[in-house]
């Protein structure tokens, strides 16, 4: 039984309607949606899962990153109609109300890896995905994978330094990136 009760399309909406069923954060949801509805708008305004943020609607900024069938994706580039039968996980699906923060969330708090917090859910979902992938593979992520992961979203507040630390803590890597005078110190080397 789901307590996620989606609201439906407005009466005036001219595009075709579809009924979709999928899971969000482990709960089954069935909803009537219009053809052109973006997944971000469905999650945010129909399900009121507002933790997924919208920064550009162009797939560039990463703030709307969620997991779709376990993989990190930009939810602003996906139509709600495309998720029929699939499994979605958002920031709200990590630590429940009153539960302890996940290791990734805690790492961002420990390292002051957020300021305004707007990009944070995207980063947390990206790092969570890499952590889960590395756990599934039974090996630590490579430095290149870490760099790809933290390069996947824009943050305008932190200058990324503490986001990198948070990611490294969450991924079980040494937190301080060595400063090398022979390569860009922002570029972690293998």
């Amino acid at each position: 039984m789901s307590d996620l009760e989606p609201s439906g399309p407005p009466t005036a909406e001219p595009t075709a309607r579809h009924t979709i069923s999928f899971t969000v954060n482990g709960e089954s949801v069935t909803a009537e949606i219009e053809s052109r509805l973006l997944l971000t708008d469905f999650l945010r305004h129909r399900l009121r899962l507002t933790g997924t943020h919208v920064g550009c609607e162009q797939g560039a900024c990463g703030a709307c990153t969620i997991q779709l069938d376990g993989q990190p994706v930009r939810s602003c580039l996906i139509l709600a109609a495309q998720v029929d039968g699939r499994d979605i996980r958002t920031i709200e699906g990590l630590a429940g109300p009153g539960d302890e923060l996940t290791a990734v969330q805690q790492a961002f708090a420990d390292q002051h890896g957020l300021q305004c917090g707007f990009c944070t859910p995207g980063f947390v979902m990206s790092v969570t995905s890499l952590r889960e992938q590395s756990q599934a593979n039974g090996r630590a992520p490579t430095e290149a994978e870490v760099q790809d992961c933290v390069d996947s979203s824009y943050c305008r507040c932190t200058g990324y330094v503490n986001i990198r630390k948070a990611a490294r803590q969450a991924l079980g890597l040494p937190i301080d990136v060595p400063v090398s005078l022979d390569s860009s110190s922002g570029q972690v080397s293998e």
């Binding site: 005036a12 509805l37 990590l94 305004c116 022979d182 110190s185």
Partner: protein, 783 residues
């Protein structure tokens, strides 16, 4: 203050109370608010840089499904007063004596007969959803008769230039000239003179959360509530009330969780008047959140300046004169007056002593989006010009650039230091405190200049360079900020202030101050900032001012409430107030530890006390008016390597030494500086808001407008010195902007140093691989 200094939270890196909510996705940003029945807005915006509107037909849009209302210029022109950022446009008396030009050019709410930049709002559709509103926008029919568009600031100043705004006499929006001594004479007799033009390109705040608001007319009281991304809620309240003709008390503006501001959300735009107007007019909640295209093309732009600068010095490098003509691109209107031009002017010389200065700033109109303050507000641009010029002077004289700087710095013994110029308020500019030589020495040591020089000599085939940038910022802009502190019925303490957070951590930092001031537990304090209903007056969070103004107001109000608590407790405990202490929110009698009273017990008894004061509880409001700016400072030092084959600039090492008085929360403070550095790196390395020659913006997405990603920002090595400000009881200074001021100059200096063997001149950013290769080619041709 009641607790022992070693227990003080001021100075401790208390973990942020904000984080838990934000990390769970439980933040409440403006677009997260669920206001039942809210209609949504889309704007039709000008597609032309300059044109006459010959007709607008909204009838088809009105008939579209789901459309609630359509407004064009004609339908609002008599109902909403044009937009004027009056506070920013005010000229203080001392500055007025300089006989400045500051043209008041109110922005039309919606264009009626003329559009002046691409992105200017022309019509507003209110519909059931944003999707439906955008459908209706598509069928509004506007015909334009094109007018000449002026995009380039130098061309805009030509005698025969076409007018940016019809009806004006010329394209000058702002002009001011100010100086000291006899600059021309000093330059004529100087041993060394360098003249150069250094420019900062247009780049923008681009907070990840765009501007937005939700407005709702209260069905019971008729008052209007606005939830907003604004940095300045009281100013929004005042403007909305004035523009749509409501009593100011009937407008409530609440700044909720805000996803970064950086200045862009600190000035008002017409959309912020139109949305409340629509809610008022329709009696229905209305929401507008800018999309990224609107944010990049039609919200405030920033930075674009040209400096024609001349420095003169004695043979030993002692500066004798500075002359600069600053050209600021205002965009299509004079939105914020002297703020950016004069800030650039009065921060140009920064930490150096020089007897003669002739500084002129001209704000020029162009048919581009209006510009306004962005983190640093004229200082990054001025620092770029001054610090690049200092490197040129060093090269001319054959002096190590850091040594040239050292010879000209104001010393700590000279503090407080009067510069001989007027500050932004129009009173003599006085630096209150600082130790610039110590700061520079630390930076020189950390970046290890001799090692860089040795490496350049040892590896002549590599292009490695070092650069510095020194700057000051006069922080803590007045005139005031307030704090209301109140003991709540639960015994918890609540702080209200007009200065909201856009990520700076006010809930934590102000609670640290209040805990120390009052002697209550940090965990028992709630900070609610940016709600005009909770405190009647406020300015907001701009200009590195919140900690200085709201922080000290918090301390003042906390002290007053502490006195009230002790007086009331004295009555309850039948003790002398002077014998009472408060620690962790528990009041006790000195020497009688068995007698204790909690704040919860006290507040419950206060209204019931026989012979009480008649006052309504334990709350006080206090306003802090800073007597002078608290002048913070910074020294950035960077080493880079340039790959002459690809044009790529790599940052090898980046050092910041900063001084911002008493630090309340070191982790938060350092992160503010690092965040600023990240934005400064974006500004010099990749960001450029560009127009084509017809005034069409061509960097209107995040795929074209290139902000730094993680790998572009290196680790930042930091150190600080502390010179508590004598201008305020907490001894604090602002540091929100400083980090963004240094990188453009420091990195450009390092790049020119690295490319000295190639004869490259760096006059402007961004230093993209393509532009570096262009500079290398033109240097090769001219050699």
């Amino acid at each position: 203050m009641s607790t022992e200094p070693n227990d003080w939270l001021i100075g401790q890196s208390v973990p942020r109370v904000e984080d838990d909510r934000l990390l769970r996705g439980a933040g409440r940003y403006t677009d997260d608010l669920h206001v039942p029945d809210a209609a949504e807005v889309a704007f039709l915006r000008s597609t032309e840089a300059h044109a006459r509107i010959t007709s607008i037909d909204i009838s088809a849009a009105q008939a579209m499904p789901g459309v609630v209302a359509v407004y064009d210029g004609a339908s609002v022109v008599d109902r909403i007063k044009p937009l004027l950022n009056a506070e920013e446009l005010r000229v203080p008396p001392g500055i007025a004596d300089l006989d400045p030009v500051n043209k008041l050019q109110p922005a039309p709410i919606l264009a009626t007969d003329e559009v002046n930049y691409v992105g200017q709002p022309v019509a507003m559709v209110v519909a059931e959803t944003r999707y439906l509103a955008e459908d209706a926008i598509e069928v509004i029919d506007v015909t334009y008769e094109l007018l000449p568009a002026v995009i380039d600031v130098e061309a805009a100043q030509a005698e025969d230039a076409a007018l940016v705004l019809l009806g004006e006499d010329d394209n000058i929006g702002v002009h001011v000239r100010h100086g000291k001594g006899d600059t021309d004479a000093a330059l004529a007799s100087a041993a060394a003179v360098i003249t150069e033009t250094f420019s900062t390109q247009r780049y923008v705040c681009a907070p990840i959360e765009t501007r937005g608001l939700v407005a709702q007319q209260d069905p019971f009281t008729g008052s209007l509530t606005i939830w907003s991304t604004t940095q300045t809620p009281h100013r929004v309240r005042d403007h909305v009330a004035e523009s749509i003709g409501l009593p100011v008390d009937d407008v409530r503006v609440q700044s909720v969780d805000v996803g970064g501001g950086f200045g862009q959300k600190g000035i008002l735009v017409v959309e912020e008047l139109l949305v409340p107007f629509a809610a008022h007019d329709l009696g229905r909640p209305v929401r507008w959140i800018a999309d990224r295209f609107e944010n990049l093309t039609a919200d405030a732009h920033a930075r674009e300046q040209i400096h024609h600068i001349t420095l003169g010095a004695d043979a030993d490098g002692t500066l004798v004169a500075v002359k600069d003509h600053i050209i600021v691109n205002l965009g299509a209107r004079n939105m914020v007056g002297l703020v950016v031009p004069y800030n650039a002017l009065c921060h140009l010389i920064g930490p150096y002593q020089v007897a003669n200065a002739d500084l002129e700033a001209t704000g020029v109109l162009t048919n581009t989006t209006f510009t306004s303050p962005y983190r640093g507000a004229g200082r990054p641009e001025a620092t770029f010009a001054m610090e690049r010029a200092m490197d040129r002077l060093a090269a001319e004289l054959g002096i190590e650039p850091s040594e040239l700087r050292r010879r000209n710095l104001i010393t700590s013994e000279q503090m407080p230091y009067e510069t001989g110029l007027l500050d932004r308020r129009g009173v003599p500019q006085e630096y209150d405190s600082g130790d610039y030589p110590a700061m520079l020495d630390r930076a020189v040591e950390m970046i290890d200049v001799p090692a860089v020089r040795a490496r350049q000599a040892a590896e002549p085939d590599r292009r490695i360079g070092v650069g510095f940038a020194l700057y000051l910022e006069m922080t803590g802009l007045g005139p005031f900020e307030g704090a209301r502190v109140e003991v709540m019925p639960s015994g918890r303490v609540r702080l209200y202030t007009g200065a909201p957070s856009q990520g700076q951590g006010h809930r934590t930092v102000f609670a640290q101050i209040l805990a120390d001031t009052m002697g209550v537990a940090f965990d028992d304090i709630d900070v609610l900032a940016g709600d005009t209903a909770s405190i009647p007056y406020g300015v907001g969070t701009i200009a590195s001012r919140a900690l200085v103004t709201a922080g000290n107001a918090t301390a003042q109000a906390g002290e007053l409430v502490r006195e009230r608590i002790l007086d009331a407790a004295a009555g309850v405990l039948e003790a002398n107030a002077a014998d009472l202490t408060i620690e962790q929110g528990i009041i006790s009698v000195t020497g009688t530890p068995s007698v204790e009273l909690t704040l919860a017990e006290l507040i419950r008894s206060v209204p019931k006390l026989a012979g009480g004061s008649g006052s309504d509880g334990l709350g006080e409001t206090s306003y802090f008016q800073p007597p002078n700016y608290a002048t913070a400072s910074g020294a950035h030092a960077v080493t880079v390597e340039v790959d002459t084959a690809t044009g790529r600039v790599e940052i090898l090492d980046y050092v910041v030494v900063h001084e911002a008085g008493t630090i309340v929360n070191p982790v938060v403070a350092d992160a503010q500086v690092v965040g600023g550095v990240g934005q400064g790196i974006g500004g010099i390395m990749s960001e450029h808001l560009r127009y084509d020659e017809n005034g069409q913006p061509i960097t209107s997405t995040f795929s074209d407008y290139l902000m730094p990603i993680s790998e572009m920002v290196p680790e930042i090595r930091m150190d600080e010195i502390v010179c508590p400000s004598p201008t305020n009881p907490l001894g604090v200074k602002g540091l929100g902007e400083g980090g963004a001021v240094g990188p453009p100059a420091a990195i450009a200096n390092a790049v020119e140093d690295a490319l000295r063997p190639e004869g490259v001149s760096v006059r402007s950013g961004p230093l993209t691989p393509g532009r570096i290769l262009d500079m290398l080619r033109s240097a090769a041709v001219s050699q």
